[in-house]
């Protein structure tokens, strides 16, 4: 079996375990078992548990970026791009699973690594959003305002519509999420 394969196996097993049980409840023995690999093997590819976690986080954010980049057409309007990226992102349940599990772990157990992981993902998304917003402002597509604030609000709005709302409300469909996103960010509520 190729070296690259074993590494990939470990990565896949660890992703599964982190998404299913969270950071703390994922043991290296368990990862080894799921990956059908001796525990020592893991340590030939990754220096320790945190670094393995980091690597997965990096993969997740890279995947998200790649999804975004695939959808963004520089010649299309900002909100057009935003909607297409949102659409594509909403289909990627695997990214969300890890995100949701870490949120839960952070809430219920308060594992520092879960919080750090969430912050890392959030930062990548925010940085990315910020750049796009800056570009849109330069293009004169949206009003000139602080990109940091805009991207923060966009991110939180996304969380509210996809996750928070589900506690008191039936989950929104992809279409509804896009509609509300557009309503707040592009049109405003006023008639």
């Amino acid at each position: 079996m190729a070296v690259i394969d074993r590494r990939q196996q470990v990565l896949k097993a660890a992703t599964k375990s982190f998404s299913l049980f969270g950071y703390k409840a994922t043991t290296m023995d368990q990862v080894a078992k799921i990956a059908n690999v001796g525990k020592g093997t893991i340590y030939t590819f990754f220096t320790n548990k945190e670094q393995l976690f980091d690597e997965i986080l990096r993969d997740v954010t890279l995947e998200m970026k790649s999804i975004a980049e695939r959808e963004i057409k520089r010649d299309k309007p900002f909100f057009d791009n935003l909607h297409r990226v949102l659409d594509a992102l909403l289909d990627f349940r695997s990214e969300h699973e890890l995100f949701i599990k870490l949120s839960q772990e952070n809430r219920e157990v308060g594992t520092p690594q879960a919080q750090e992981g969430l912050d890392k993902i959030e930062n990548v998304v925010l940085e990315y959003l910020e750049r796009e917003v800056e570009f849109a402002i330069r293009q004169g597509e949206i009003k000139p305002c602080d990109p940091k604030i805009i991207s923060m609000v966009m991110f939180r709005l996304y969380i509210v519509l996809t996750a928070v709302l589900n506690k008191t409300h039936k989950p929104l469909s992809k279409e509804e999420i896009k509609t509300y996103f557009h309503l707040f960010l592009a049109e405003g509520l006023a008639l």
Copy 2:
């Protein structure tokens, strides 16, 4: 000393302690001491710690409602009212202190009563917002859309602008908060 006074003393002392130390770290002995009252006296007015906490939460939300009602003029536009209520609410630091302390306690220690308290406040605000939004929709002042979602987004937007943002950004002024509130809810970002 009048009975009503002693009750008020206890209420004031407890509010102070809950705002300063949170729910868990507030002991009944301490409340009695701050209120200059025997511990037993507290139990002549309140059945137990939770009920005392509830009473304070009720007072806080009543105060918020009263602030809101004072500012709302039924003949003025919705966003006009919204801004004036926001303005008045942002001045009420005492309400915010308890809210912020409970948020912190919930995050750091996870005291269930802190979470419940926050939920109670949130629910009161959401119900109130929902009614106002419904009214504005009937008046044809804002677009017809689900009031539950609108009020939830409004509430979270408020939290983001007043609290969450402060971790990565310098706190916004009252004027800035109002501007961004208007930008997202009334105008939208698009040019």
